[in-house]
């Protein structure tokens, strides 16, 4: 008697939980959610949302797109990976390491820019990169900073064994630099600019020396995109309309850049300085050319090897080939039966051809 009542309660609990889990599937999707976070190359999303461009393009295709800002970049990717969002702004490296390795088939819908000096290795009271040997380096471990450092070390014949890495939160990087024990940091803008303002700081290596390797993209869930190509078209339309305004020298363009700068916590001059170290693909044509170029597979191979060496392709990964990466021409790097990361120029090309 006692037990049967107990079992009943338990069963009710189970029923509630499973009902919770099953309620996700639904009819044709009309409402989409895109997450973005603050970074020079992603500020256009916030502006596009405020200026009504998002609504304009979404209306055109009869859908709604909710553009949500996150304060924490990694959290936004995690939320996307967990399925709470249909798309997110992310770098190529983090896309491969988080959603793709996590089994979420992801498509790079738009390659917006690549870091062209926005990420940098900074030494205190030292002038050249080789002097980093033996130092403790403060950086956000396993981030693009870590990748930049690994690439930089290669150029001077060093490896990660020659230094030690201290995982340091980006929010505290500037304060960390000001403490006497910290002698080397790797970080990104606007923190780079702030740290370089200190007289002791010298930039010894930056992402302009590995052009194209740190890409900032808008990625979307491949299955969602396949079922709803209109989402891809609307997003490409929003992006390249925004690029057109943003890159123009008209008062309207200046106002847009100023608004983006303000949203990023700086002003027009500060934001333009950040854009100067960001290679924006202002036209869809440039982005298509980059996406279809022969250099993309080479870059991607270098990124996946870094991730593999740091155990980020999964703990059972025997080689960097565990995840398949498909390029715009259909070539696949890695496991062809398990493609989880796809580059495509389809939607950017539509924007370039004006067929959206």
């Amino acid at each position: 008697m006692k037990f049967s009542r107990f079992t009943a309660v338990l069963l009710a609990g189970f029923a509630m939980v499973s009902a919770f889990g099953a309620s996700a599937e639904a009819a044709p999707k009309k409402d989409f959610k895109i997450a973005w976070s603050i970074y020079a190359g992603w500020m256009p999303w916030g502006w596009a949302s405020d200026s009504g461009l998002v609504k304009k393009w979404a209306d055109k295709y009869g859908i709604t797109i909710d553009v949500v800002q996150f304060n924490d970049y990694i959290e936004s990717i995690n939320q996307y990976t967990a399925g709470a969002f249909d798309g997110v702004t992310a770098t190529n490296m983090d896309t491969l390491a988080i959603p793709s390795v996590g089994g979420v088939d992801t498509t790079a819908l738009i390659i917006g820019d690549y870091s062209n000096g926005n990420d940098a290795v900074i030494l205190k009271d030292k002038k050249i990169l080789a002097e980093i040997k033996g130092q403790k380096v403060n950086l956000v471990e396993l981030s693009v900073s870590h990748y930049l450092l690994a690439r930089g070390l290669e150029t001077v014949g060093l490896s990660e064994k020659d230094i030690s890495v201290i995982n340091t939160s980006d929010a505290d990087m500037v304060a960390a630099y000001k403490t006497p024990q910290v002698t080397a940091v790797v970080t990104w803008n606007p923190l780079v600019a702030e740290i370089l303002a200190e007289p002791s700081a010298t930039k010894v290596f930056d992402s302009s020396q590995i052009p194209g390797e740190i890409q900032d993209m808008l990625v979307v869930n491949t299955d969602t995109l396949k079922a709803n190509p209109d989402l891809g078209k609307a997003l490409a339309g929003i992006w390249y309309d925004t690029m057109k305004v943003m890159s123009s020298s008209t008062p309207e363009g200046k106002a847009a850049r100023e608004a983006m700068g303000k949203a990023a916590g700086t002003d027009l001059a500060g934001y333009e300085a950040q854009l100067a170290t960001t290679k924006m693909f202002y036209t869809a044509k440039e982005a298509v050319a980059f996406t279809t170029s022969g250099q993309l597979p080479t870059i991607t191979d270098s990124v996946r090897n870094f991730l593999f060496a740091h155990g980020l392709l999964g703990d059972n990964a025997k080689s960097p080939d565990v995840v398949g990466i498909e390029f715009a021409d259909g070539r696949v790097l890695g496991d062809k039966s398990k493609v989880k990361f796809r580059f495509t120029d389809t939607y950017m090309k539509m924007a370039a051809d004006g067929t959206l």
Binding site: K2, G103, L142, S164, D172, A176, Q181
Partner: protein, 273 residues
């Protein structure tokens, strides 16, 4: 009629009720996890028991591929050292300053308002200052724990000291005891078990500050690993770490309670057990 508040469950029902919330949470997790894994076998958000077991095996019982260390033990040792130092120093200082503040009017005038106000400063908000004063190394992590829990211990002990019956102090004085004798014969023995209570209540905060400090800059530690793994949504590592931290915190609390019972048996005499 027996009112509901007077009804007690018998032993079997009691055990069931104790286990019920645990079982429900575990069952809910198992159902949700298997549902997600059925949809996507590579899902990282709610790993299966096997995945977590493999992660523990990898972190705790297999040397790391790159450094050859057993990461989980290395993290545990690093965190417990910081926590031990922080709590130890805060306990000694808190006991001393608390008794001073509670017993000596001059010390009270000097300290009580100051500690009262300092206790209200959220330590995490002044972190950059701590960094610049104490660097980014071990010292600043230990200092953060101390700054986080010391004011509470001082205030608690000062208040307990103030609650010592006035008659005891007067009686000691009529017997000719000096301030020093009163302190170490009457006040300190009564305050030691209270100090353990105070530390037990501070344990939660101490863990919180430890993990925050490790999230900001570290090379090892339980909090460091959790924040690093969070970058890649490796919940298969994070969840066992959370369970391990919970266990360590529980064990520490239990050990302090045992210490108190063993060392200050007089406190429990009134309970008649």
């Amino acid at each position: 009629m027996r009112r509901f508040i007077n009804r007690h469950p018998d032993a079997a029902i009691r055990l069931l009720l104790i286990l019920l919330p645990f079982v429900l949470v575990i069952a809910a997790y198992a159902v949700a996890s298997s549902a997600r894994l059925a949809a996507n076998p590579d899902d990282k958000l709610l790993p299966s028991w096997t995945q977590m077991q493999q992660a523990v095996d990898r972190m705790a019982f297999t040397p790391d591929r790159r450094s050859g260390e057993y990461l989980m033990w290395k993290d545990t040792a690093a965190s417990l050292t910081r926590l031990g130092l922080g709590i130890g120093i805060a306990t000694v200082l808190g006991g001393l300053l608390g008794i001073l503040q509670g017993l000596i009017p001059y010390a009270r005038a000097l300290l009580s308002n100051f500690t009262g106000i300092v206790a209200m400063i959220p330590p995490l908000a002044v972190l950059p200052i701590l960094f610049i004063m104490f660097g980014l190394g071990e010292v600043s992590k230990v200092v953060l724990i101390i700054v986080g829990i010391l004011p509470f211990i001082i205030r608690d002990i000062a208040q307990r000291t103030g609650e010592i019956p006035r008659e005891q102090l007067i009686k000691a004085q009529t017997l000719g005891a000096s301030t020093w004798q009163i302190t170490h014969r009457i006040v300190v023995p009564q305050m030691l078990p209270r100090l353990i209570d105070s530390v037990r209540l501070s344990l939660g905060a101490a863990w919180l500050f430890l993990i925050s400090a490790e999230a900001i800059a570290a090379e090892a530690g339980l909090g460091y690993r959790i924040f690093l793994m969070r970058r890649y949504l490796s919940m298969d590592v994070i969840l066992p770490y959370v369970a391990w931290i919970t266990f360590l915190a529980f064990a520490l609390d239990f050990a302090l309670r045992l210490l108190q019972r063993w060392a200050f048996r007089w406190m429990y005499r009134g309970e008649g057990r």
